[in-house]
Amino acid sequence: MMLLGMGRFRGGVHPKTHKLDSRELAINTDVPLPPMLYLPLGQSTGDDALPLVEVGDRVLKGQKIARAGSRMSANLHAPTSGIIKDIKPVTMPHPSGLPANAIWLEPDGQEEWCELTPPADPYQLPHDELAGLVEEAGIVGMGGAIFPAAIKLRQGRRFEIKTFIVNGAECEPYLTTDDRLMCERAKEIVEGTKLVRHIIEAYRAVIAIEDNKPDAIKAIKEAAAGVGSIEVVIVPARYPMGSAKQLIQAVTGLEVPAGKRSNDIGVLVHNVATVYAIQQALTLGKPLISRVSTIAGNCTGQPQNLEALLGTPISHLFDVCGGLESKPARLLMGGPMMGQVLTTTDVPLIKGSSGLLALTQKEVNEHVPSPCIRCGKCVNACPMGLLPLEMARSSRQDDFDNAQEFGLRDCILCGSCAYVCPSHIPLVQYFEYAKGELRDRRSEADKLTLTKQLMEARNERMEAEKAAKLAAKQAKKKKDKPKRAAAEETSDSEATAAVAEGETES
Amino acid sequence: MEYLLLLISTSLVNNIVLVKFLGLCPLMGVSGKLSSAWGMSLATAFVLTLSAFLSWLIEHWLLEPLGIEFLRILSFILIIAAVVQFTEITMRKLSPLLHQSLGIFLPLITTNCAVLGVALLNINEGHDLPQSLMFGLGSALGFMIVMVLFAGMRERLAQASVPTLFEGTPISLISAGSLSLVFMGFSGMF
């Protein structure tokens, strides 16, 4: 039964790939330095990073300039040497176009590295120390998940990992970064795979590549041949093969149970680019300061794969690619299926930017939505087995419980449903809306519980104060310090309130 | 076999709601949600079957021997009211949520013409006791089928962007009419 399930998952679509423009082009590592780098403090999940530098400081390339703000966030390093000009908000590469705090770094053109301290032999170090090095290097999931890689490694160590999968599927149209990375840096990726496998002590390491990338398959197979015990698995090209859940099913035949992580079934997935970054950190000691990104779309003069410094304004990157030929109908970060709309090109490249697309109206093929005709194409396309039409309908009526029931809780927002919808209904936007509203509700509900706890604490305190006053009155006859007791009570409850606040923040 | 035919005939072919047009009040009132429609049809089915049975007993053991058939409607209503009261008391104890969601429609089973209709039809058509029971059961089944079917349709109607003029009861009545057209297809069977 497991064998029958190999290479398959339910549903999925075959979008036009558009990869021909950039897949043959070698990664361009020669991007000129921009006049200013903008490094947002929130480039990973979790809280914003905390700056370690002050305005006016000179920093060296690779120097840590901000540390993780909470367990779920990551460090930030200077992509080049230069002067810290400011720490103030910039427009974020996000559909809202809202600003967020960033470090403004003016490059001095020296490209002066700070001292790198790669371990002499990473295999000699304890596993935990290796994970620590990955954490120090500020590496996050580079496929777009931006979840700190070190946390995944540490979680992986707590489970018996049977299969470690390197995700080289890259199922999004246009994007060829992983493809090129595998073609050109196959050795490093294989080495990185070996390292991660070593850290989590996985039984089996698999590099999974979609069958529409023959060059990458060849390169990785050649690189892995001498190493041994690293399998290359060719999976059929079908969107969303690159989604972790679907890839796990295609490679192992297992499903990640709802509400669980892949660890629970003994699987761990990392993106190719992440594995490459881990290899760079563990063998060369280099932190994550640059990334490969595909610049494409019909509005782009010459599509390319660029390796650019984090913080580079994307207008600069488009200029390197010959500028925007016409006003794009859609400017995207990421692929067209799951990528985010950008409001302007004046936003920086961040750790999760796998691609920057400037699409024409023809490529987007957006239409005015018409009513749902219940054709069921979305149901057939859904790789998760959900009912997108019912989810959207419930969301439209703000019936979020029903939407959850119809599958919103399991939705991975892959967009397969909206891709095939003949009525052009923006299904994913309905889901994003409903998920957002549910998030609001949850935080409101959390707040309500907190308020109630605080209330109870206060009431108790009031009671105690009253009792204390009463006691004090009675004691007054025998002359004693009257108010001390009450004052002590107050400071006590203040402390509990502070503790409660701390809990909600974490 | 004869009873089975009677059951099918009363539940589908001569459906109490869609062919005889009895019991439309709960059909419109409580079919908004599948769960309450189900509860309502269970309650009505219980009342319907039990009162059909009891009223037959009253008719043939009490009214007929004493020659006071003119009290038929009065005494049947008494029976029905008592059975409904009993159902309500029981439901309130066993399923308070359902009791609340059915609200006024639960005591209104008393005035559900389907219930009295079935009891009277039983007498008019000269059914014997097992036949009356089957007739009651079949009608109850037919009522349940229509309620559940219609509740499913209503749930979808609730999500349709019906023109304001027809929202609510009008569109429900139109749908019920359409459904009754469809049930005409069963006519002439058996």
Partner: protein, 362 residues
């Protein structure tokens, strides 16, 4: 350099270029062969009736869109035209103009727009109109014409806009019942089904479409041709038609084996009446059939069984419309019980059990 773009919506930013009007157009295309055959068999009145249905359906749709203050451009999605077309296919070829116009108006207004327009209706509009007509006006709806009778233009005008085919002097010579009606009356009258079949029924005529019947239901061959096109374009799937026709054939097979003098065989059931066109074109209507594959199979089985039951025991000779409409009414419930299994969950929606990877002691 900076360039501001319009914001646009959430992902995805790509589309497979399908569209509602595209689907409707393809269904019309698939109906074209049977329509042409119907016009070939029954001449000008059939053509006039078909045009009348199309035009009045679109007029009714335009009227409703105007009343509901919706853009008239909605008319271009082709759904109203298709509804009119599908109604024309179910009508006797020589039916008078008011049947065509009234039926189309009923289909669009009561069958569809009153529910809020495309995608919201509970019943297939064309079939609902057809049975409303059948029950209200049984005579013009059961006046079937011999195949190959082609009247002159003047006759055609008087048939469609005048008193109908029965007013013609020699009406008895070229009108009669369909196979289904005829065989039912015969069996009711005490005749043997086998004998009736031997005398009247021909497999070849049934398959090619040389028999009395509604305009679009005669030729199984051309229906299959259109259906093949729709399946090729992935507009319909096999689930509903196969389940429906399979159930119908199976029930016919079993009953004709046990009581051959009472029941006709599977081929007779499949080829006569609207079974073929109903299974491929009406039962597969997106709006009124279940969305999941399992649901569609249930839908087909139910419709097939209903059709057989009403054909065999009911008062009406033809039951495809009733069977499909009954299942239309059941569709919301079917959709409720047949949800696909969700990734990582079992059929009941609970997270799947897994062999928990052992925790390591670190």
């Amino acid at each position: 350099m900076s360039s501001n773009t319009s914001l646009g919506g959430a992902s995805p930013h790509a589309h497979d270029r399908s569209g509602v009007n595209n689907i409707m157009f393809n269904v019309c295309l698939a109906l074209a062969p049977v329509t042409a055959w119907g016009i070939f068999l029954w001449g000008l009145p059939a053509l006039m009736m078909w045009v009348l249905c199309l035009v009045s359906a679109m007029a009714a749709e335009a009227f409703c869109l105007y009343l509901r203050q919706q853009p008239l451009s909605r008319l271009t999605d082709g759904s109203a035209m298709l509804t009119g077309w599908m109604l024309a296919m179910t009508l006797p070829p020589w039916c008078p103009w008011w049947v065509a116009v009234g039926g189309s108006a009923f289909a669009i207004i009561i069958g569809k727009q009153i529910y809020g327009g495309i995608g919201q209706n509970l019943f297939n509009p064309a079939l609902l109109a057809r049975i409303a007509l059948l029950i209200s006006f049984p005579v013009p709806l059961t006046t079937w014409i011999d195949p190959g009778v082609s009247p002159s233009f003047a006759d055609a005008i008087s048939i469609v806009f005048g008193q109908g085919p029965l007013s013609l002097a020699n009406a008895d010579a070229f009108t009669g019942a369909t196979w289904l009606g005829d065989s039912k009356a015969a069996v009711k009258g005490g005749a043997d089904m086998l004998e009736w079949l031997g005398a009247n029924y021909s497999l070849h005529n049934g398959f090619v479409g040389q028999m009395r019947g509604s305009m679009g239901e005669t030729s199984a061959l051309l229906v299959l041709l259109g259906a093949a096109w729709l399946m090729f374009r992935r507009i319909i799937s096999w689930h509903i038609p196969v389940a429906l026709l399979g159930t119908l054939a199976l029930l016919a097979l079993v009953s004709s084996h046990t009581q051959p003098e009472r029941f006709a065989g599977p081929m007779f059931h499949l080829l006569s009446g609207g079974a073929m066109i109903g299974a491929f074109f009406y039962a597969t209507d997106y709006v009124t059939s279940p969305t999941t594959k399992q649901g569609q199979i249930l839908f087909g089985i139910g419709a097939g069984a209903m059709i057989f039951a009403i054909r065999s025991w009911g008062g009406f000779p033809e039951a495809v419309a009733f069977g499909i409409l009954f299942m239309n009414a059941l569709t919301p419930l079917i959709d409720r019980v047949t949800k696909p299994r969700v990734y990582g969950r079992n059929r009941r929606g609970e997270a799947v059990a897994h062999v928990s990877a052992q925790r390591r002691v670190n």
